[in-house]
């Protein structure tokens, strides 16, 4: 009934480094006539300071506005006209940029990425910044301000982390900081973070490694390395107590959020936390779903999740109450589950299910070339080597139920957590 999991796929990985410091990862796979280019810069909102929050993400937008040899709207146009896809995303500890192109278009993608790594500044101007500032403010409205429960996660982070810690503010930033950001801030951010010696370039797919490497060197080799901004230290005094807050929103159902601080991605304890989250709430046979959603119908949905962030990772429990259910009553039942997880033995069934689910979701992700490229960049950037892309699966196999329980007991303390309840407002905005 509990089959031995197949091994993670064996990927051919070649690692190189250019003289200017650019780390290169190659992964040949010719199943489909596609090539995935994936560039991770080791910079994100963790590199921001209060007053200029959102700069890393606003900067990501500016990187799609053309560079010295690439016209303002040409990045997407050139990629899409050959049938490619391109995008980027910003997170706490990294910013990634990627193109998936038909094989035969590798040089086009490399030329585009190299141009904005090496020749961005001549193309930056105030008008582009002003337009993208409005785009980002609209992105924020669409994703946060105009969504039910949209501001809850921001509130949770504010409560869980001190004001000077980057987890205190959202990656997309505060509107007043976005408004205040000047062109010189953007330029300085580029000079201190966007160089070959702060990046990993992964090229995966239908390539011949030697000629791919030659092409990479051709486009990136002449870009000088930069003087990196010094790493910012983020001391994190213990939370030490429980903080609770209630906020109103235009929602039909109350929702409860619990947040705990957990060790960051890359540590064995992180894997234990991710496994625990899946054990508790992953799928319809998980104990929280079975009990709270299916049998007693106290919750519309319930989920536990752990952020994949490096320095510290928030562990969240999110539960939406069914109509007529008091969030306090729901909280008591959730606490019973958490209490059980840290004091009693995790059942063999739940433990195996959680581990199998995580392994299979990783197998699923590794099907697509762009995900593979992203995983290889992640492993190279955050874990030190692309070969460590299977680190997660390996730790899940190494952990046992007792160790997961012990780690959970260490970090899931009801004495040191944040609790936020979102309650429906009436038409006059009252709770």
């Amino acid at each position: 009934m509990h089959p031995q999991l197949p091994n993670p796929p064996e990927l051919e990985i070649i690692e190189e480094q250019l003289d200017n410091g650019l780390r290169v990862v190659l992964h040949p796979d010719s199943t489909l006539p596609l090539v995935a280019i994936n560039l991770w810069y080791h910079v994100g909102s963790m590199s921001e300071v209060p007053g200029r929050t959102g700069l890393a993400h606003l900067f990501e937008h500016m990187l799609f506005q053309g560079s010295e040899h690439v016209g303002t709207n040409d990045h997407f146009r050139l990629v899409q006209q050959v049938g490619g896809n391109a995008n980027g995303s910003t997170w706490y500890d990294r910013t990634n940029y990627y193109e998936t192109l038909p094989a035969g278009c590798l040089d086009l993608g490399l030329w585009l990425e190299a141009d904005r790594m090496g020749y961005l500044l001549p193309a930056l101007d105030q008008k582009k910044l002003d337009t993208q500032r409005q785009v980002v403010i609209n992105e924020r409205r669409q994703r946060t301000d105009n969504q039910p429960y949209g501001r809850a996660l921001e509130k949770l982070h504010q409560l869980l982390y001190p004001e000077v810690h980057p987890h205190h503010w959202p990656v997309i930033g505060w509107p007043r900081d976005l408004e205040a950001t000047e062109l010189e801030d953007v330029k300085e951010f580029f000079r201190r973070h966007y160089g070959p010696n702060n990046a990993v370039l992964t090229v995966a797919g239908d390539i011949e490694p030697r000629s791919a490497l030659a092409a990479i060197d051709k486009y990136f080799g002449a870009i000088p390395s930069i003087e990196l901004a010094p790493t910012i230290d983020h001391p994190l005094p213990a939370l030490g107590r429980t903080r609770s807050e209630t906020m109103m929103d235009r929602v039909a159902l109350p929702r409860l959020y619990l947040a705990y601080r957990w060790p960051g991605y890359g540590e064995r304890s992180w894997s234990a936390g991710n496994l625990l989250a899946t054990i508790l709430s992953g799928g319809r046979s998980s104990p929280m779903y079975r009990d709270l959603v299916h049998q007693r119908q106290l919750a519309q949905e319930v989920s536990c999740l752990l952020y994949p962030t490096v320095e510290t990772a928030p562990f969240l429990v999110i539960a939406t109450a069914r109509p007529g259910v008091d969030p306090e009553a729901l909280l008591a039942e959730i606490d019973t589950h958490i209490e059980r997880a840290i004091s009693a033995e995790i059942s063999r069934e739940d433990f195996d299910r959680g581990r199998n689910q995580l392994a299979c979701s990783i197998f699923d992700e590794l099907q697509s070339l762009d995900e593979r490229a992203d995983e290889l960049s992640r492993a190279a950037t955050l874990l030190g080597s692309p070969e460590r892309f299977s680190w997660e699966i390996e730790t899940y196999e190494a952990l046992d139920a007792e160790e997961v329980r012990r780690i959970a007991a260490q970090y899931l303390s009801s004495e040191s957590r944040v609790r936020l309840t979102v309650v429906p407002q009436d038409s006059k905005g009252r709770a």
């Binding site: 899409q80 403010i137 105009n146 486009y219 799928g283 998980s286 119908q297 109509p323 697509s368």
Partner: protein, 454 residues
């Protein structure tokens, strides 16, 4: 030593290598069940889908939401197993099981490890032939869906979608969300669930798709064995959707949200079924208008004006006449200006041919990005499902590029004029009426307030 590299021009791209759709077998069993199987492996996983043409288009007039409720109940108990037992069996193997409906069909999807194909087929055969529809599961689903429907109202984007659909398709299944309405959900009886299932779930309208590291022929044989002689209880006759005449004055249907941080805008009209002869041209046209980041709408509203995070358009592909819709969320102060820009883009689409460059770009995007969707077994399954569901010929994708290459700017202009009429587009908006009304007045639109009730 490296020479100086001339970066001033984009590098030339190599010739596109043609993409072969992975080979697959399609067999109709004696019962009428269609089995499509392919050995295509990207991971030690298999992807199984049971698809029955029993979607919301089949909802009885007084019971919107019935089809999708029945679909959702399929994996909540079948044969000797309860819903939780089915879930526990699949999840203990690292798999996932889900059941849901859309406008066209009911889908039971099962992901498993590659060596579990027998378990998978046995499960799906039981779900197809012996769903239990237990009354406790019916009540649980009813309650969850009622709550879901009231929550749907929380999301301004969904509310804008629903408002537009109610205007475009009065008195048809497309007028209400897939979940149905509060009144119909509350009224659905166990007898109605059974009778809907008896009437619509027949082998002739069902497709089984199996993809992964499997032997396609063996899967067909195993399916024959597992599904035995499945006989449906009725021979289903597919429903259709009749459209009224298209005569719309300039009206914006506005849901007032005084506190909204942004305005959700939808502009659209009913269009044609997925298998319409103009389908390829419509895809190409949409690639130029609003199907990509570099399409006209997004370049205009986002990159030129900074009105929005994104603006897109879509010709929905459904068994019935699916809608053409432009969607965007804009700053409240520019909702009128954004509507004007969208309508101007639609006018331009219908009054002047696309440039050759635009035709080439839009077409090459569709052709070049085709293999992108084949990276995962679920992506490939979705392609095969599209083929089978809409009864396209099996070689449909083999000639896709040829058909697109055959379309000229003149063809596309004619198709635009046939399908897109800016004068009769309906507009729906969710945002602060006090700020929006004067803007729409100025555009010459009558503002009609829509009640803000689920």
């Amino acid at each position: 030593m490296r020479g100086i590299l001339d970066r001033s021009q984009p590098p030339r791209t190599g010739p596109a290598r043609p993409t072969q759709l992975p080979s697959f077998e399609s067999v109709e069993l004696d019962s009428g069940l269609t089995v499509i199987a392919s050995r295509y492996s990207r991971a030690p996983r298999i992807s199984l889908h049971l698809v029955t043409r029993a979607g919301a288009i089949e909802d009885p007039a007084e019971r919107p939401g019935l089809a999708c409720l029945v679909a959702a109940l399929l994996d909540d108990g079948a044969g000797k197993r309860t819903g939780p037992e089915l879930a526990a069996l699949v999840e203990s193997l690292g798999g996932s099981l889900s059941a849901a409906g859309d406008w066209d069909a009911a889908y039971v999807s099962l992901g498993l490890l590659a060596n579990q194909i027998d378990v998978g087929l046995e499960l799906l055969a039981t779900i197809a032939q012996d769903p239990r529809f237990r009354s406790d599961e019916l009540e649980l689903n009813r309650g969850r869906r009622l709550a879901e429907l009231s929550r749907r109202h929380d999301r301004p984007g969904s509310l804008a979608d629903d408002t537009l659909m109610s205007v475009l398709y009065p008195d048809s299944p497309y007028a209400t969300p897939l979940l149905g309405t509060l009144a119909s959900l509350a009224a659905i009886s166990a007898a109605e669930v059974h009778s809907f299932h008896d009437g619509c779930y027949v082998p002739q309208e069902t497709i089984l798709i199996a993809i992964g590291d499997i032997d396609a022929r063996a899967v067909t044989e195993k399916t024959q064995a597992a599904f035995g002689v499945w006989v449906g209880k009725a021979s289903a006759e597919m429903s259709g959707i009749e459209l009224g005449a298209r005569d719309r004055p300039k009206v914006v249907h506005l849901v007032d949200r005084p506190e909204a941080a942004q305005t959700e805008l939808r502009i659209g009209a009913p269009d044609v079924p997925a298998n319409h002869q103009d389908r390829d041209a419509l895809r190409l046209l949409n690639s130029a208008l609003g199907g990509r980041f570099s399409s006209r709408l997004n370049l205009n509203l986002r990159e030129r004006h900074g009105f929005t995070y994104g603006a897109f358009s879509r010709f929905s592909e459904r068994l019935g006449p699916g809608p053409f819709v432009v969607s965007t969320a804009v700053a409240n102060s520019v909702a009128g200006a954004a509507t004007r820009e969208v309508l101007a883009e639609l006018d331009r689409l219908c009054s002047e041919p696309l440039s050759d460059d635009e035709v080439n770009e839009s077409r090459d995007y569709l052709i070049g990005s085709f293999p992108y969707g084949l990276q995962t077994i679920d992506g490939f399954a979705a392609r095969l499902n599209h083929l089978a569901l809409h009864r396209f010929p099996l070689d449909y994708f083999e000639h896709y590029a040829d058909r697109l290459n055959g379309l000229t700017a003149a063809d596309l202009l004619a198709v635009a004029q046939d399908h897109v009429d800016p004068q009769t587009m309906a507009v729906a908006a969710v945002g602060p009426a006090a700020e929006l009304s004067p803007q729409f007045d100025e555009l010459g639109f009558e503002v009609r307030l829509t009640p803000d009730q689920p």
